[in-house]
Symmetry: C2
Subunit: 368 residues, 2 copies
């Protein structure tokens, strides 16, 4: 993450508010309602604020091309199609993933209000940005939030050659008393695709175990995935227990895709509009799985929050290897968020040019 939080001299710092206003106007011009544009942009830019540059405005043109191609409908959040007291299946109706997931997670939270927990399987959705965004919605309400999504195939199963799974992230957000919220937000691969892109841009090799080449051999060439290779599951190689990363990515795919009625495995629709949709689809769009658990469904809220603070301070206070310290999941992203909210969001020249072109296309002034 550190290589993302230090803006290099080639980036331009743009204030969050300026970038958000621009992006909202673009979504309005592209046909979004005011409310949906606001939700989309807040969730989209949260990735930029938290330092996950691959999932923020750098993807804006990609989303807009999917709108043009008719694969994203900016006017709907979808809705429930099947329910029990603690579950709902949600048809996203090809809506923008950020809006669909926001509404589906609000629904999960409402289920939890009455049933103790709420679980929403979403089909027919699109890329929803940063998984943690929706888990954090529950934590803000004092609940434990869980957010899973499948994604277009980039990952080979252990011993496999083909890209059969997405980077399928797991996000869990847990509320606290005075400590910052615990936010685990991780791809089930060794490295997320965005980190690879950073190394590619810099012409640097990857650490071993991130990717394999077209023959399935470990490579440190950051361009290996583009040349017919694949990302490796968390663990990196069989001796490092990559079958565990593959297993976790599989569970995410099954809950998000198989259980919801969405596409799954290699049938998850591609993010890029120039690639065709799967010829023999097994479901509708991509899928998410969202959960909210009321803490006081298990123990008094105040007691849990105190225990979480103690858990966190114990981990922070443990002895560390010289020159290092033990972090809590979410620490780095939170620090980046505070810094970028104060100083602005660093945009690479390519991203800046992309946004200016979008502005020209939609008749919206960038303001930067």
């Amino acid at each position: 993450m550190s290589d993302l939080t230090n803006p290099s001299s080639t980036t331009t710092l743009v204030p969050y508010q300026v970038l958000a206003l621009f992006a909202e106007q673009v979504f309005l011009a592209a046909g979004s309602t005011a409310a949906f544009a606001r939700i989309t942009v807040r969730n989209l830019l949260l990735a930029d604020l938290r330092g996950v540059d691959s999932h923020g405005v750098a993807r804006l043109s990609g989303y807009l091309r999917l709108v043009e191609a008719g694969r994203i409908d900016l006017t709907t959040a979808g809705g429930p199609i099947h329910q029990t007291p603690s579950t709902t299946t949600w048809d996203g109706q090809r809506g923008m993933g950020h809006v669909v997931a926001q509404k589906a997670m609000e629904h999960a939270i409402n289920l939890a209000d009455t049933a103790g927990t709420g679980w929403v399987a979403v089909k027919n959705s699109n890329h929803y940005g940063l998984a943690g965004t929706y888990a954090m919605m529950a934590a803000k309400r004092g609940m434990i939030g869980i957010s899973l999504t499948n994604a277009s195939p980039l990952v080979a199963p252990t011993f496999g050659l083909d890209r059969m799974l997405g980077t399928n992230p797991i996000a869990v957000a847990i509320p606290t008393l005075t400590q910052p919220t615990f936010v685990l937000d991780m791809a089930t691969t060794t490295a997320a695709n965005g980190k690879l892109e950073v190394l590619q841009r810099k012409g640097l090799p990857t650490p071993e175990g991130w990717i394999q080449d077209a023959e399935g051999q470990i490579t440190t060439d950051a361009g290996g995935v583009q040349q017919g290779g694949a990302l490796r599951p968390l663990g990196g190689n069989p001796a490092g227990a990559s079958h565990k990363g593959y297993g976790l990515g599989s569970v995410v795919d099954i809950l998000s895709g198989v259980l919801s009625g969405a596409g799954y495995g290699p049938w998850v629709p591609p993010f890029v509009s120039f690639l065709p949709l799967p010829a023999m689809p097994v479901g509708l769009g991509l899928g998410h799985f969202l959960g909210a658990m009321r803490v006081d469904a298990f123990m008094p809220q105040s007691e849990f929050l105190s225990r979480m603070d103690h858990w966190i301070s114990s981990m922070r206070g443990t002895k560390a290897i010289d020159g290092h310290k033990v972090l809590i999941p979410g620490d780095q992203e939170r620090i980046c968020h505070e810094q970028r909210m104060a100083e602005g969001i660093p945009l690479l020249p390519t991203v800046l040019a992309d946004l200016r072109q979008i502005g020209a296309q939609f008749g919206v002034s960038t303001g930067f």
Copy 2:
């Protein structure tokens, strides 16, 4: 796993039924009820059948010493102390983990019957054996089962020196139509402690990234943990994304321990009776988190089962690296189960001697 499924020439094959009868009689002699002895032994020996030798009868004497020390009460399964429609907090009342978790998972399944999903946080329990055991209970009922537990501290957080977390496993079992049940059952470390013990016994080094020494440096000495080192979280080292394994182990600890009212982190009671209980406990015993989700709370059961079969056959059918094939989580354990049910369970001389001594102590004939 393969090094466990091939009984070496030094092991003795004991038929499952013979071993189970012996173990049941021991638990009866130690004060268990007939019903609880049956549950305990079935769940305990499932580890031996599935090739996880570290969690089966090799631990029998350890459990019995905890009974003698008054830390395990063989006469209770505990019961619910707090409920909502989809959740329960369960006080294990120091019962045998295998019995407590069995009853708590049955309760989760009952909750799911009415609420769609059921989630049970368990405190005041003991080591429950193989995590997958309880997840598979739900899958046998056509539900998705989830089983998490914390465990006594052996794992250092990324950049940490101290053992702050257990190997905290994640198990997920998913029902299928004609394919074998999908069973992910994994420690959130690179290697489970049992695999280290196997290498130690053979005098072999570990692959890099399994453990660190007392200074926090990677070591391949299988005895490193005993010499003040620690297990490394899944990912192995920071470049391999060990912060993800640390994050997953943390979530398991928080759901199992912090949320239930059990001990957590370094305050989880030790498995061995000769180590004292934590001086300033933060909760009661160790904790589990068990979940059951009705598939038909999301989509028609038959449709889901067909989709799962298709998911599995697609993964099995994908191109593999020369000389290898792509496996489905649970394949190796299931094959081992079938083999050992037919041929017997291989016991090492040390385990055999241990069991004979237990037989003498409790006046039970081993029959082998």
